[in-house]
Structures are given as C-alpha cells and as structure tokens.
C-alpha cells in the first residue's frame, strides 16, 4: 500500500513526464513537419505547379509596383539634377520626410543633417523654385522653413542694379520688403539671392517681380515663381562650402 506522500510524488512525476512528452512531441512535430509533408503527403503535380505559378505571379506583380515607385522617384530626382544652377555650387539631394500639417505656418523636415554637411541657413530648392531655408540642424535630420512661413527671411537683390531687399514670409505668401520708394523697381524684374550672405551664394535667380505696392514709404513686392512646397517630395540643399 502506497503512502499518501508517495502517491503525491508519483502523481507529480507522471504529470511532469506528460508535460515533457507533450513539449518534445510538439517541438519535433514543428521541426519535422516540413520534412514529413514533403516526403509523405500526397499532392497532385498539376495543382502544385499551378499554385507555385500563382505565387510567382503575385510576387512579380509586387516587384513591378516597387519598380514603378522607384522609377517615379528617379524621375523626380532627375528633375532636381536638371535645375539650372552654377556648377561651382555643391548640392545635396534630399527628401522631405515630414511636412507640418498646419495650413499657414508651414515647415518640414528633411532626412539629412549635420553628418551630411547641412548647415543652418542653407537654402533649399526644387526644380520648380525656392522651397525654403534650413532653420535647425540635427545629426541626421534638419528642419526647413518654407518660403511663406513668417519666420522665413532671406536677403535678395532685385533687378539688374541689384537693389537689396528682404524676402520675408507672412504665413500666406512671401514678399520682398524694406526697399525704399525712391528705388526703381518694375514688374518683370529678376530676383536673385544676395551674394553678401554668410553662405556667399553666387547670384541664384529665384523668380521675378509680379506686383509692386507702395506701403508706408517702402515698396512691398510680390514675387511670381515661388512654389507651394507642400507638393514637393525631393528637394535640393545648397551646401556651398
């Protein structure tokens, strides 16, 4: 006759053995299931070929979609490369990864930072025109202020006589300010980035004057070729070291 203690011991041993057996069985089943299926299970060659071909078609379709996306990206990058800029400038192609979702005060984040030689104040352009200016630089990403952001300001020259002014955002558009009314500015005059900035840009054309308004002793000039950067994906940073 088994004592109560022995009965308990036997019960626990049996339970432990069952658990170990189940665990090992499941593991072995997991490791050998593929082998067993491939060696022992019955399958029709015709059906298996058909399913393999179907899988291959779906894989190829997915690859085509990926290729199409890459081709689109390449096309927009090529457009960036065709931008008419002086050869002496060093350019860095980058991607706008985040755009501020607010309507008026717009800024974005590009995926290049100080590790890629991006500096605070560097201009950002796209083939369609001026996008903005780098405002903050981190190691791997930078913040760009778009041209219509109220914090955006860049010094420009207007016309052949290089009248200096400041292109400044107002939340809705960007206007050239601080040109006195005695200066002669007409619609159609070209606007260039000023050459006496810290970055020492050569005169890059950014657009032309589309409207001249006299406002409290100063001219308030609107500029034609500024783009809405919210549509942009690939942009170029002018590093100019």
């Amino acid at each position: 006759m088994l004592s109560k203690r022995n009965k308990k011991y036997l019960f626990l041993t049996a339970l432990g053995s069952i658990l170990i057996f189940v665990f090992l069985f499941l593991n072995l089943n997991f490791y050998f299931s593929n082998l067993l299926i491939s060696k022992l299970s019955y399958k029709s060659d015709y059906l298996s070929n058909n399913s393999i071909l179907k899988e291959r078609i779906s894989l190829l379709e997915a690859r085509i979609k990926l290729q199409e996306a890459i081709v689109d990206e390449n096309l927009s990058l090529k457009e960036n490369l065709n931008y008419n800029l002086p050869k002496s400038l060093s350019l860095l192609n980058t991607e706008l990864i985040i755009i501020s979702p607010f309507t008026f005060t717009s800024s974005g984040i590009i995926n290049k930072g100080s590790l890629d030689r991006v500096k605070k104040g560097s201009l950002v352009i796209s083939p369609k025109g001026l996008v903005g200016k780098v405002a903050e630089v981190n190691k791997q990403f930078s913040k760009v202020l778009f041209t219509f952001n109220p914090n955006f300001a860049v010094m420009v020259y207007v016309g052949e006589s290089k009248i200096p002014g400041i292109l400044k955002g107002n939340g809705i558009s960007s206007r050239i300010k601080y040109i006195t009314t005695d200066q002669e500015v007409v619609v159609g005059d070209n606007v260039f980035i000023a050459t006496n900035t810290i970055q020492e840009y050569p005169g890059i054309r950014i657009g032309e004057i589309s409207g001249v308004v006299d406002y409290e002793g100063f001219l308030n000039l609107s500029i034609k070729d500024l783009i809405n950067p919210r549509n942009a994906k690939f942009v170029t940073v002018i590093i100019n070291d």
Binding site: I99, A135, A232, K233
Partner: protein, 168 residues
C-alpha cells in the same frame, strides 16, 4: 466589436494622427491642401460633443503644434476659438441631418478662415485678395474630405441597435 477593441482603436487613432504628416502618404494629404487637424476636429465635434472628444481634439492640435514652429500658436488660437464659437453659438441651433451637417461644415470652415484672416491681417498685414487666393483651394478640399468622412462615419456606420426577431 471594433468599438470594444481598445488596441485596434488606439492603433487606428495613431495611424490617423501620424500618417497625414508624411508627404504623399496617400491618406489626407491631397497635394498638401487638406488641413488634417481641421478635418479631425470637425468630425469630432459633429459626431457629438463629449469631454473625451474635446480631449482628443486638443491632443491632435498639440501633437501637430509640436511639428510646427512658434507662429503656429496663432493658428492654434484660431482653431480653438473656432471650436468654442461653433459649439456655443452654431451647433446647438441645427437639427442633425446630412443637409444641415454640410451647412454646419461650411460655416465651420468659413469661421476658421475668417478668424485666421483677422489674425493674419492684424499681425502680418495680409491683403484680402492674397488671402482669398491662398485659402480658396484648401477650403474646397477640406469641405469635400470632411464631407466624405462624415458620410462614412456618421451616416453609413453599422447600426448600434441589436437585431430583433419577431414571430407573428
């Protein structure tokens, strides 16, 4: 079933919150003309005001504020003011149906863009014609996107009442 699953709800909410931030993410961006926060706030307000919905709206606004700069406080003020006026003076006086909801949406958008115009013309001397040119397309986009979302969420949602069987 989905209503009760907090994990799916949280995941969906996070996706709705974060995806419009990425350009060309094929969510609510539509060439950058749609203001996602404005659409979300309107949808939250029009589907019944509660403390949780107001909290969600504020979280959305402050989350997007973090991705903007200092002048975004001006726009945040305009949005909060719009919500306050909309809840206090407009929403109570409309009977809820699709036509009235579309009128309320139009009033909400016009209210927001009018308040923004007052603020921006005061601070940056923005002209009316310049402002009109800038907000014309966003108003149209915001209206249609909000309307589509409203119809999907409010008017074609799964019925809440349990099915009953009758025996005659």
């Amino acid at each position: 079933m989905i209503r009760k699953n907090i994990f799916i709800l949280t995941l969906g909410g996070l996706a709705l919150l974060l995806l419009p931030v990425y350009p060309k993410s094929s969510t609510l961006d539509f060439g950058g003309h749609v203001d996602a926060s404005l659409v979300y706030i309107f949808i939250l307000l029009i589907t019944g005001i509660s403390k949780i919905k107001l909290l969600i709206g504020l979280i959305v606004l402050f989350c997007y504020l973090g991705l903007s700069d200092s002048y975004a406080y001006l726009e945040l003020t305009a949005k909060i003011l719009t919500c306050f006026i909309f809840i206090t003076y407009i929403q109570k006086f409309f009977w809820e149906n699709l036509r009235n909801d579309s009128i309320m949406l139009l009033i909400f958008l016009l209210l927001f863009y009018s308040i923004s115009f007052i603020l921006y013309s005061g601070v940056f001397q923005v002209g009316l014609s310049e402002y009109g040119t800038f907000v014309g397309i966003p108003i149209i986009y915001n209206f249609f996107i909000s309307m589509i979302l409203l119809i999907i969420i409010k008017y074609t949602s799964w019925p809440r009442a349990k099915d009953q069987t009758y025996q005659f």
